[in-house]
């Protein structure tokens, strides 16, 4: 592999935030000596990338060398500090890492990355409660961090606190209303929390966002397949228990039968179009969906 193509791959990984640590270390190790003179301005982001990858696969000598070079170039950089913190996390006890981040925060209370590392350490050692408290505090200041909101929602969900999870997700929705995956997560959380009317609405919103540019004939893919499944599940659940409770007082969707029919149709479309490799799954889906009349009349369930 030539130098230029290796560099190109590495730059590509950096740009897309790809997590291919082994490959990065394999390609990056030969470049490590005198990286600055070989790579110019790219060297520093390369060293950061290599250090993270090396820590992940446990090649700590490489990581230490990267840190040494970075530390020489940027003696007081908060970014290098965070990297050294991650290096500490790799070998030392969590308490020492926490202490390290505490010191960073004492020096500069607006160091967002240090907060996040601290929270991730807390999460790793199982102090979920403290992690949630600190994450809430972090978000109170750095409100616009969408991924932190999603993380908070996941932490709440892991403790079965679905209402709080939904609240955290609603902030994520406010900040990134164009992302169907957050809507989908909201819907699934609502479904888990047994708020079926809310869940079906959110599943439909997710479809609405994900399918915005698709026509009627196009095949549902990605997020929308999952969302159609969700609609189908909610329809089934609503028709079984027409008076299911809704913690959020969401009104029942109108035309439930039509929706059920449409969801069945869309899921089947997705599976029919998947070609030969999807055929095996299709039988299962068909039997789950029940003998549906594709021509457009009422769908009957087999229970």
């Amino acid at each position: 592999m030539s130098l230029s193509s290796a560099l190109e791959t590495l730059a590509n990984y950096r740009a897309h935030n790809t997590r291919a640590s082994q490959d990065i270390v394999d390609k990056g190790k030969p470049l490590l000596n005198n990286a600055a003179s070989k790579l110019g301005d790219d060297a520093w982001s390369f060293l950061e990338q290599l250090a993270l990858a090396a820590i992940e696969i446990g090649d700590l000598d490489v990581a230490d060398e990267c840190l040494r070079q970075l530390g020489e170039k940027f003696p007081e950089s908060p970014r290098v500090d965070i990297l050294s913190g991650i290096r500490i996390e790799a070998t030392e006890r969590p308490e020492i890492a926490l202490k390290f981040y505490d010191d960073l925060l004492e020096a500069d209370s607006s160091n967002a990355a240090a907060y996040k590392r601290r929270i991730s350490v807390l999460k790793r050692i199982g102090k979920i409660e403290q992690a949630v408290t600190e994450l809430s505090e972090y978000l109170d200041t750095f409100y616009s961090d969408v991924e932190a909101w999603v993380e908070l929602a996941e932490l709440h969900s892991s403790c079965n606190q679905y209402t709080f999870a939904l609240q955290a997700l609603s902030h994520a929705l406010l900040l990134a209303p164009q992302n169907p995956f957050y809507v989908l997560e909201f819907a699934e959380t609502a479904y888990t929390a047994n708020d079926i009317p809310l869940a079906i609405k959110m599943f439909m919103l997710a479809i609405d966002i994900a399918d915005r540019h698709d026509s009627e004939e196009s095949i549902p893919t990605g997020a929308s397949v999952r969302a159609w499944y969700g609609v189908k599940l909610c329809c089934r659940s609503l028709s079984e228990k027409p008076s299911s409770p809704s913690a959020s007082d969401t009104p029942f969707p109108k035309n439930l039968n039509l929706l059920d029919e449409l969801a069945t149709e869309r899921v089947l479309t997705a599976y029919s179009a998947a070609g030969k490799e999807g055929a095996a799954g299709r039988e299962l889906v068909l039997s789950w969906m029940g003998p549906s009349d594709r021509s457009g009349s009422r769908v009957h369930f087999v229970r």
């Binding site: 209370s109 609603s170 406010l174 209303p177 439909m204 959020s248 969401t250 035309n255």
Partner: protein, 268 residues
């Protein structure tokens, strides 16, 4: 008026020893100024966490309000966020120094008493000084040595209106407007060299904007008024009303989503 027959003869020595030196000195001073400003710039001061929180609190409600007419979140969640923010704004939870105590009259903070604000103002003043001082020195130099010099003749005719612009420092009513005096040449350079600086130093250099910042006073031009403190108490009160307005226009995207979907797929 001036007749074309009356012509001046310009000594080539004037071109070599006055015209070129003035231009060269101005270019070099501009470049020098760029580097001096770079040296003087202090790194932006880090804000403590409480101050960031105060600054960004408004953004939270703005994000909520911006989409309220077509909101992506269900009514219960919208209302709970909205009520929470309104209560926090009312109580002053987000203020840097905590909620205000008692009924102390809220006076706008004095910029002179806040050291952080003073720092910002001093930085602006320093930059201004670097801009002004060399220009004054060059102008003095030209006035002292080359007062009343005629440097070049423009190759095109101009109306009398340009006389004050092109012949500053020469009080002769009858001279053709095409002759340019030394002081006017200085001003032409002063306003005209920006393009050249941009070529030499890149687009965001600090030499090029000299003519713009020169006009502004040192206090007003200090980089978007970093030192001007904002009265967050008032801003929060206003934002609370805005939130109430936004709640009136709230509607959820999910209200008729099933109809939209069914229509799209031809079921309705």
């Amino acid at each position: 008026m001036s007749s074309p027959a009356v012509s001046l003869y310009l000594d080539p020595q004037i071109r070599d020893w006055v015209l070129f030196p003035i231009t060269l000195v101005m270019i070099l001073v501009g470049i020098l100024r760029h580097y001096v400003v770079l040296l003087l710039q202090s790194s932006p001061k880090k804000l403590p966490k409480a101050a960031i929180r105060e600054q960004r609190a408004l953004a939270r409600s703005q994000i909520l309000r911006a989409t309220s007419a077509n909101s992506s979140i269900p009514p219960t969640f919208y209302r709970s966020i909205s009520i929470h923010l309104a209560a926090a704004f009312d109580a002053g939870t987000y203020l840097k120094d905590g909620p205000p105590k008692g009924d102390a009259p809220s006076t706008p903070p004095n910029p002179m008493s806040d050291p952080a604000a003073m720092d910002g103002m001093m930085a602006g003043m320093k930059t201004q000084m670097v801009m002004m001082v060399p220009q004054m020195v060059i102008m003095g130099w030209i006035n002292f040595f080359f007062q009343g010099f005629v440097l070049i003749k423009l190759p095109f005719p101009l109306t009398l209106g340009f006389k004050s612009m092109l012949q500053r420092g020469i009080e002769t009513p009858d001279m053709d407007v095409r002759w340019v005096s030394s002081l006017s040449w200085y001003f032409l350079n002063f306003f005209g060299l920006n393009g050249l600086y941009r070529l030499i130093l890149g687009s965001d250099n600090s030499a090029a904007d000299s003519s713009q910042t020169m006009m502004a006073s040192p206090f007003a031009g200090a980089g978007g008024q970093p030192g001007q403190p904002q009265d967050y108490v008032k801003l929060f009160k206003a934002e609370k009303d805005n939130l109430a307005f936004a709640e009136g226009t709230y509607s959820w995207m999910g209200d008729d989503v099933e109809t939209r979907l069914l229509r799209k797929y031809g079921k309705l």
